[in-house]
Symmetry: C2
């Protein structure tokens, strides 16, 4: 194998596939990056067997030459060293060559590295997905769907299914749902007619996979193609394949958690409320629960307070846009509320309560597609 | 005590004094920040008993009012909470008030904090230094003196005196010297005539103190005043007092370590050499020594190489500006060499060797005031 490649292109691809490489894998060869040169260009692969990422650098695109002097072949290079080497090479182009003894030479300017490679035949084959059952989304919309839900997945393994995001197709909508059983985040988008005959109805994608995918994807309006099979999901852009396993098991039916009527509705500016809750939680650094209390007052005032006997207490007055319905005192996790308010993605927020002991709902004003639900905390 | 203050000014002062506050102190009240309001303005103090920092915010300066409605008094506030509170308050001004029960109220906009304070009388008094024996330097020059030497102090406590920087007055020069016994960094500057009658000749300032001081000081040409007593040093700018204890004991005489003649001299571009050594050390991540080898070649070429049998090897060719004297092969710590080259602060560097087993010297070209010395490593 041999090729000469633009260093910056190689660096970007290496950084992308590195998102899938873990140093703690039980399969030694997966601590490496597979490098494969073909007549079409260069393909890099990283995998921890849960997530696999392939990045392709074409020989030439839009009149720009990225890879030259290609002699096809493949090798696996240690991910511990290869990215740093590429990053620090002195020249704009890099020559990489391997011989029959798996010795790899990397040359750039006055710099020459000799590395011990591993046999690419020992690297696991990625499953070939049947990509018939696929649909497309703008990349920036997918990134928003992820950002607005994935923070709410469970981080404990007691119910593994809750560590994933439930992706559902229902009544012409694509719905992303995450819950750790204390709070729930969901967002749905209408599906285009062309995407409307999807065969899958509900899958669960590991939260970690979506977090890594979100890091790699650029916020462009270019389409990303999503293909779902029984136990895998593939996200595909022009030069990137991102393959993740799906979680086994049935995701709980969450729709019954969502209260259908409300007794108190607060309309507020999102940022002011978020900052008040942030401040009210400052003295509760020690306690994991980080609980604050919300009290509706006269004249559309909302009070947020918290009390940490040893340290002191805080009272925040927030001028709500309006308060409808019953008076209310309710306690909840400041962290959950801040996560929810950040995910709402709107200047104005509508919060619907059904009493101090019932879950409450946070939504952007005039938009039912984003829904955040939080279970209150009993404080007496 | 009561006052109303500009939040940004308060924040900056809090961040400065926090550099001295440690959560691991054995004196509980030192986990707090002392806040003292006088008719002149507000004084904040933080200390871990090794370092003490005072920051002063004048009531008014250059026609700008910083502190208003002052009722003199003092209190100690927990450093764990106070900085975050100040940072996140909603309005540009903050009102702080304490009562006779040490209860403190902090108000800003709709936000009101009640904190339990501690009695300021229990906070240790900072020693009043006799500041007669003092001299002045431009602040940016002091920052450079620190940066070019402090990295070379010892980080192990086997010889505590080596964890400090030796500051000496000698033959009209002020000299900063640091060594961990494997390498040495020094820089001297000529003293002005007015600074030339200093009574101290040699003190040792803890490296940690200088590192914290460097973080606080802005790189301006304003003067900083330095006062030295038997066991303390005080750095003083217009609104900042930085007091550090000195290290007890005699600093070793280092001048005899510096070879007086050389057998091989390499002149090179600093950055190219630095980057080559950085790359050559990449494969030695595992080994703590991080040793690379330098070999002089024909035609003013320098080869830097390293070999990690399991991973591979690197060879770097660097075009030196010139090489004078004997041929040379020498091994040394890549980290020490990179630290030294960064401290040289010049595009061109002069390296003087006296054989493979003798310490060698790195200096900026045409400037004898900065000197970096490294002991080679035996590799056979």
């Amino acid at each position: 194998m041999k090729f000469v490649i633009q260093r910056d292109e190689l660096m970007n691809s290496v950084q992308d596939v590195m998102k899938a490489v873990s140093s703690r894998t039980t399969i030694p060869i997966l601590t490496g990056i597979k490098v494969e040169a073909t007549e079409e260009g260069l393909k890099l692969t990283g995998s921890d067997s849960d997530i696999s990422i392939e990045s392709f650098i074409p020989k030439e695109e839009d009149g720009i030459v990225y890879v030259e002097q290609i002699e096809p072949g493949s090798i696996v290079l240690q991910a511990k060293y290869f990215p740093d080497i590429v990053k620090k090479l002195p020249e704009k182009t890099v020559e990489i060559e391997s011989d029959e003894h798996l010795k790899v030479t990397i040359r750039s300017g006055g710099s020459e590295f000799h590395l011990n490679g591993q046999d690419a035949d020992e690297y696991p084959q990625l499953p070939q997905l049947n990509t018939e059952d696929s649909f497309e989304l703008p990349t920036d919309l997918l990134k928003n769907l992820i950002k607005q839900t994935v923070f709410a997945v469970s981080t404990v393994e007691t119910r593994p299914i809750l560590t994933g995001v439930n992706v559902k197709v229902e009544e012409g909508y694509l719905n992303f749902i995450a819950t750790d059983s204390h709070r729930l985040a969901s967002r749905k988008i209408p599906l285009d007619a062309e995407n409307n005959n999807l065969k899958f109805s509900s899958v669960v994608i590991p939260g970690k996979s979506l977090t890594e995918l979100n890091k790699i994807l650029e916020g462009t309006q270019d389409s990303i193609q999503i293909s779902v099979t029984e136990n895998q999901v593939l996200f595909r852009t022009k030069h990137l394949y991102f393959l993740s396993r799906l979680l086994d098991g049935n995701y709980p039916e969450t729709s019954r958690l969502i209260p259908e009527q409300s007794k108190t509705i607060v309309f507020s500016a999102t940022k002011e409320l978020l900052q008040s809750i942030d401040r009210a939680s400052l003295l509760a650094k020690e306690s994991k629960n980080n609980v604050v209390r919300l009290i509706t007052k006269q004249n559309n005032q909302v009070e947020i307070n918290s009390n940490s006997p040893e340290v002191g207490n805080v009272t925040e007055e927030v001028a709500a846009k309006s308060i409808e319905g019953d008076e209310l005192k309710i306690s909840f996790s400041a962290k959950y509320m801040m996560d929810a308010l950040k995910a709402v993605d709107n200047d104005q927020v509508k919060i619907e309560f059904t009493g101090a002991m019932r879950p409450f709902i946070i939504r952007p004003i005039d938009d039912d597609h984003i829904l955040q639900l939080i279970l209150p905390v009993r404080t007496y």
